[in-house]
């Protein structure tokens, strides 16, 4: 009977006699809010890409896709995303296996360290690498020239490959984290049976372990691919100077160069349509290549897997892991901190050139303080609103199951696949006076609206997963005990999913604090966010000051992350 439970004549439907019932009300609210937050901006982009003042005008769009610069940007976007995905996946799987399945020493510490690149804002990493290996003025480049008497700079990070390198070092944790947890939850008897059946260690890895974690690999790879396609920070910091554009940076350039005029924004909308098509094509392609059934071999409880002895390879592999960590975590961090103490960018990194003046500026300048305040406000507000709205959508989809719940689910997940740059353009088009006279442009509210659209799916996912754990009989039992629908929601369901709601908040709050892609197009004179402020300081040539603010930002992020990990660790599971 369980199979039928919840298909149609369920609790929700039973309340159908009252004229206004809460289920219907919640469903309607969901649809209206999603319409405002998600659907309108997206519709506005498509409309403005093809229509002008109510008339179909396809020429502008065709012009844009024929433009050589745009085509080149598209090609770069694809190239960078594909290589970043392949290399990041290989790297992620390799280290996941090394840390999850081999007897490499200092595992706990290494795992913690390998998660750092994930919280490290990639555009700060790009800044650090640019300081070291800029084709003209990179510190390490200059040092190498001096040391070996070279005639030109040996490494140029301001290239497509440079961008790929930096993206790989900050995106490989997507795959790493997924695969490590899959490996840890995998039933070790599956591997042991293969050994008993006569397979060699190497065969077990290729024929059993890897195929079993393939769904995890594929999920992580997909995340790298979509993130890289939509990414603004790294290509903009490394590519801008050399005229290397990707679609997101090209969109920014087009709008920036036009001074924010409507024509510029329309061109941006046309490019956005291109970018969305590229992302959609990539998603479909990935689906084709990596589509695989999910296996039910991964158990919920953790087991002790058999560890593979590395023997002679132990020390070299350990050193390789340490080297990787130093290269992608320590070196950029040290570089940013060192530069932040410099009196002026370009001076040698010597003690006599060091000063605290940059930090003094950071903490006294109005712009910086305002930026931190803005970021805190928008991130917390977006986190709280999305936490409730996401839970509401999740409840409607999982428990009420109205007609059109599929539509609801798709709409709320849509922004997840839509690049932040594109979303910003949609938000600009929608909320700068063209609809019902609402003009939020240049205010903090437009950033908030964009963040809400961008991050709603995060909280919806966590709340959805938690709601699935709350068996319907729990709510039914309270109904039978005499609780009304509202009371059983308040007494039973909400307390049970509260931990998930809280972690949904932090999942939004943390990335929003370091966000730059969306807000770079939306900020006004008084509404810079932390990311935008660092970006513009650097853009204005005040690199040491940007580095100082970046150091502060990294400090804030590390502190917040530690708090979150502590908080979510000892929560009571359902």
């Amino acid at each position: 009977m369980k199979n039928y439970r919840g298909i149609s004549p369920d609790l929700a439907a039973v309340d159908g006699h009252k004229r206004i019932n809460m289920d219907k009300l919640m469903t309607v609210i969901c649809f209206i809010l999603l319409l405002i937050i998600v659907v309108i901006p997206i519709v506005m982009i498509i409309y403005n890409a093809f229509f002008n003042e109510g008339k179909l005008e396809i020429n502008m769009f065709l012009e844009q896709i024929r433009d050589k610069k745009n085509l080149e940007a598209m090609w770069n976007t694809l190239k960078i995303a594909v290589f970043a995905t392949i290399l990041g996946t290989v790297m992620g799987v390799f280290y996941a296996w090394l840390l999850g399945r081999s007897d490499i020493p200092a595992k706990g510490l290494m795992r913690a360290l390998f998660n750092i690149p994930y919280m490290f804002p990639p555009f700060l990493g790009a800044m650090a690498w640019d300081m070291m290996f800029n084709g003209r003025s990179g510190y390490i480049n200059k040092w190498l020239v001096q040391l070996f008497g070279l005639s030109s700079m040996p490494i140029n990070i301001n290239s497509v490959w440079g961008i790929v390198f930096v993206e790989v070092s900050y995106y490989f944790p997507f795959v790493f984290m997924q695969v490590v947890s899959a490996l840890e939850r995998m039933d070790p008897t599956l591997e042991e049976s293969a050994r008993i059946a006569g397979a060699k260690q190497r065969q077990v890895i290729w024929k059993i372990t890897l195929p079993l974690v393939k769904p995890a690999i594929s999920a992580g790879a997909l995340l790298i691919l979509t993130t890289s396609l939509a990414h603004f920070g790294v290509p903009s910091i490394l590519g801008y100077a050399k005229g290397i554009y990707t679609l997101p940076t090209r969109i920014y350039a087009v709008i920036y160069n036009s001074g924010g005029s409507f024509d510029g924004i329309r061109q941006g909308a046309a490019l956005s349509v291109m970018l969305v098509v590229v992302v959609a094509a990539a998603l479909i392609l990935q689906n084709r290549i990596l589509s695989s059934g999910s296996y039910d071999i991964i158990k919920g409880k953790s087991m002790r897997p058999t560890l593979i002895k590395l023997r002679g390879a132990k020390v070299p592999l350990f050193l390789l892991a340490i080297f990787t960590l130093v290269l992608i975590v320590i070196v950029p961090l040290v570089m940013i901190v060192l530069i932040s103490f410099l009196k002026a960018y370009g001076l040698p990194l010597a003690f006599k050139n060091f000063t605290f003046a940059q930090y003094q500026k950071v903490f006294t300048a109005n712009g910086t303080i305002a930026a931190i305040r803005n970021s805190l406000f928008v991130s917390i507000a977006a986190g709280i609103i999305c936490m409730f709205l996401g839970t509401l959508v999740a409840y409607v989809v999982q428990k009420i199951k109205p007609k059109g719940k599929g539509v609801l689910e798709v709409i709320s997940m849509l922004p997840y696949a839509i690049p932040g740059t594109v979303l910003s353009i949609g938000v600009i088009l929608a909320w700068s006076g063209r609809i019902a006279g609402i003009n939020l442009y240049n205010t903090i509210w437009i950033i908030l609206v964009a963040y809400m659209a961008r991050y709603l799916s995060f909280s919806m996912k966590t709340s959805s997963a938690a709601l699935l754990q709350v068996h319907s009989s729990l709510e039914e039992a309270s109904r039978v005990c005499g609780a009304s629908h509202t009371e059983s929601l308040a007494d039973i369901t909400l307390p049970l999913i509260r931990p998930a709601m809280v972690s949904g908040f932090f999942l939004i709050f943390l990335p929003a604090m370091r966000e730059v892609t969306t807000s770079i197009l939306l900020y006004g004179p008084y509404t810079r966010t932390l990311g935008v402020q660092i970006y513009s300081l650097r853009d204005a040539g005040m690199i040491p000051q940007a580095a100082a603010l970046a150091t502060v930002a990294i400090g804030i992020i590390i502190v917040l992350n530690t708090i979150v990990t502590k908080l979510t660790k000892d929560r009571k599971g359902v």
Binding site: M1, Y4, H17, H471, L474, R479, V480, C481, V574
Partner: protein
């Protein structure tokens, strides 16, 4: 005290009809066991009574009170029906302590604060869970959680209690204890209990009346347990309640035979309709006795001592049949040994038309 009356209830999930014009009247103050194979609609019926699903047609009344009437558009919401429930998966709220779980229904019924705790502790006492009052459910075993669920259903002292497989997770001894406890509680409260189970043993032990449901969701027999064991309404009831042997009866020119790979002449009395064969002879293991005179000769394959009886597997021709011999019988007549050939006689046989493609065990 109140009786429960289902009248022409139809429940559909999508295109799947679970209950089709189902009617049943449960007498007031009785323990009625609703027995049927899993998937037959027992739980669906209970959910209709509780107000957790909505039938398409029919009426449900408890005593004088109409809870559901499709025609008059009456549908009392679940929280106003005042029926106690023990769910199969306990549905103990994981974020509340045992005591909070049991207090919750009283709070929702606006019972006076001073009484709540005393009544809750009393309910916990009845299920021997007082010492766990301040535990969280995840600190309890499945059986203990089940007892909390029972206490939570008892605490409001409703006229009607629904129990959906409430004791499946308890060990044998505790199960017996709980069954006695349920019986005592029923006597004290005079409540009507609808007890859903697929386990005929506990049903037999507990019930005043039994309702047997067939796999298609229809009611096939309603009566006392004795009635159902001694006079099963059809082959399904006979087969479902208790263990049974079936032997096909065939007509040959010179008389009736049991077709067991080889044919055995069958000379006992047979009802008129079975005289031309095409029927199965059904007999319970304890209705087969050893009889040296009998022409039915079977070989003893195995014998197991079960404490109060012996359980045999015999080969009659190609067919394996099960025989139970009581201790008394074994003492007076002796046991049969493995490998021995014995004569058997059927004491109490029933005859049912052979099912096409059906099992004849």
């Amino acid at each position: 005290m109140a009786n429960v009356k289902f009248d022409n209830i139809t429940v559909r999930y999508g295109t799947h009809t679970v209950l089709d014009n189902f009617s049943l009247e449960v007498e007031s103050g009785k323990i009625v066991c609703l027995v049927g194979p899993s998937g037959c609609g027992k739980t669906t019926l209970a959910r209709a009574l509780l107000g957790l699903n909505k039938p398409e047609s029919g009426t449900i009344t408890v005593g004088e009170r109409c809870l559901f009437d499709a025609k008059k558009r009456v549908n009392v919401p679940a929280e106003k029906r005042n029926i106690g429930i023990v769910f199969q998966d306990y549905a103990v709220w994981p974020h509340m302590t045992v005591l909070e779980n049991v207090c919750y229904p009283l709070k929702k019924q606006r019972v006076e604060k001073s009484q709540i705790k005393a009544r809750a502790m009393h309910a916990l006492e009845q299920v021997h869970m007082t010492e766990y009052a301040n535990h969280l459910p995840n600190q309890l075993s499945g059986g203990q959680q089940q007892r909390v669920a029972i206490a939570r259903a008892l605490v409001v002292e409703s006229d009607i209690l629904v129990m959906d497989e409430p004791i499946t997770n308890l060990d044998a001894k505790l199960r017996e204890e709980m069954l006695l406890e349920i019986r005592m509680i029923q006597k004290r409260l005079g409540a009507t209990i609808l007890y859903i189970t697929h386990d005929q043993q506990s049903a037999l032990q507990l019930c005043d009346q039994m309702a047997i449901m067939q796999p298609d969701g229809s009611l096939c027999q309603y009566g006392t347990d004795e009635d159902i064991i001694l006079h099963p309404a059809n082959r399904f009831t006979f087969e479902f309640i208790g263990v049974s042997n079936f032997l096909p009866l065939v007509r040959k020119p010179d008389g009736l035979y049991l077709d067991c790979g080889e044919a055995f002449a069958y000379s006992e009395a047979v009802p008129e309709e079975a005289k031309n064969g095409g029927y199965d002879l059904g007999v319970r293991p304890n209705d087969i006795v050893f009889d040296k005179e009998s022409p039915l000769r079977a070989r003893v394959d195995s014998r197991v001592f079960l404490g109060s009886e012996y359980n045999y597997f015999l080969s009659l021709g190609q067919k394996q049949i099960r025989v139970q011999q009581s201790m008394l019988d074994a003492r007076t007549k002796g046991v049969a040994n493995e490998g021995e050939t014995v004569g058997i006689r059927f004491v109490n046989s029933r005859f049912y038309p052979t099912e096409k493609g059906g099992r004849t065990v």
